[in-house]
Subunit: 253 residues, 2 copies
């Protein structure tokens, strides 16, 4: 960030080389000249605000988006107006890759807090990956990673109890903040309890109750949207289902 304004424009329009996300984002593994070529095709928007939508499911696909600052949720809109949340995305993460196949976005993306986002027109990126093998490789890697992460989520939803899910969720966020240079034990939840519930396949009330219980058990402290993890080991044990008592069921039994 720079001098005067709350969110200065210059902080948004910095180039990839000065962006501290090169170890996560598309430029990973590129040489300086190659990053320069990538920059030429990237559109940097003015800051977006809570609720702004990056793209809509079924809308024609043309760009990938990279979160630069802030956070974004992706979700599948439901006929009844609901939203099945698919993921929460932090700086350096690329979204929209599900639109390549059908040339329509498969899901929708909404900004959770004031955020800066880079738009990468896909046809130009694709052409560039043809010229720059390491960029091609990085794009394959990013898509592969996405597949692996969704796979892990399927396993979570398929076989973990509510408390295991929430513990894993909180630890996952912690890891991701840590890798971005933020505190791993003290952070802000930009999404609502409702969104967390949808993401984890649980009711809002369950999320609320579990946060309260985790707090009673000394695993963490919650105050509104602020979260402080006070017992990482305990949370890890809980996420693995190694609760002290020999739990045995996923739910309902």
């Amino acid at each position: 960030m720079t001098q005067d304004k709350v969110i200065s424009f210059s902080s948004i329009k910095i180039d990839c080389k000065s962006c501290n996300l090169t170890t996560l984002c598309l430029p990973l593994g590129l040489e300086s000249a190659e990053i320069g070529r990538l920059e030429e095709i990237i559109k940097r928007s003015r800051p977006l605000h809570r609720g702004d939508q990056l793209f809509h499911a079924e809308q024609g696909f043309h760009s990938l988006y990279v979160i630069k600052t802030g956070s974004v949720k992706t979700f599948l809109p439901e006929p009844d107006g609901g939203e099945q949340v698919l993921g929460f995305h932090l700086p350096g993460e690329v979204i929209g890759m599900d639109g390549i196949e059908s040339e329509r976005y498969h899901c929708s993306a909404k900004v959770l807090e004031t955020s800066a986002v880079c738009e990468v027109p896909f046809d130009r990126l694709e052409a560039l990956t043809h010229d720059i093998p390491s960029l091609q490789h990085q794009l394959y890697r990013l898509m592969s990673k996405e597949i692996g992460q969704e796979t892990d989520m399927l396993a979570l939803l398929g076989s973990k109890s509510a408390e295991e899910r929430l513990a894993a969720f909180v630890l996952g966020l912690s890891e991701r903040f840590k890798r971005r240079g933020f505190s791993a034990t003290d952070f802000h939840l930009s999404m609502s309890r409702h969104d967390i519930g949808s993401y984890l396949g649980l009711a809002v009330e369950t999320i609320s109750r579990l946060f309260s219980r985790f707090q009673e058990e000394g695993l963490l402290k919650v105050e509104r949207k602020h979260l402080q993890l006070t017992n990482l080991a305990g949370l890890q044990a809980m996420a693995k289902g190694c609760g002290l008592e020999p739990r045995r069921q996923k739910h309902g039994g």
Copy 2:
């Protein structure tokens, strides 16, 4: 094994051009000469049998695999020896793409019935995608499709009831068989009830009970592994949660 065996080698070693999967598989959109180049790098194995494992989670990644005939399940092995099933794969489908990112397979793959599989060494494929833009594009599309399908599965697990899940599962299989030229209403389940349950996040007993109930309701007929769909519209309504009574809950409440 060679000529004289039950499954003749010639049926396995046919090339991509004579394979009737070109509209699903990697060659989609390629010209004849390009398919020729792709063929050069593909390894065609002898037929595999039920239980044979294509790759193991955590094992070093080097190839994608394409199912040519038969079927394969992918799963995440669990510490207790269990298997969290991630998908069932039919002819023309590519698996192993989750290994690109970390250079280790993220999941395991096991053959469900006698199957033929093409092995595609990834480094050679990647090099070829650099030479053949339409192959590059097709690989992006295949990975994107995988992401979209997992996304749909997340939504299924996150918000559908047991009957909705099973109905959707059965209809999904139906669609995929149809596209491959098989009957959409009459097919063989190569996976166990246990695998179906794991895939859908349900207990084996629930699968069994639901199949029985669907049969009573005239939606389908099951006999062991043979399935006959007798009321597609009814199943579709059920999959959408438009059961006649206004169901309201995902489960348990």
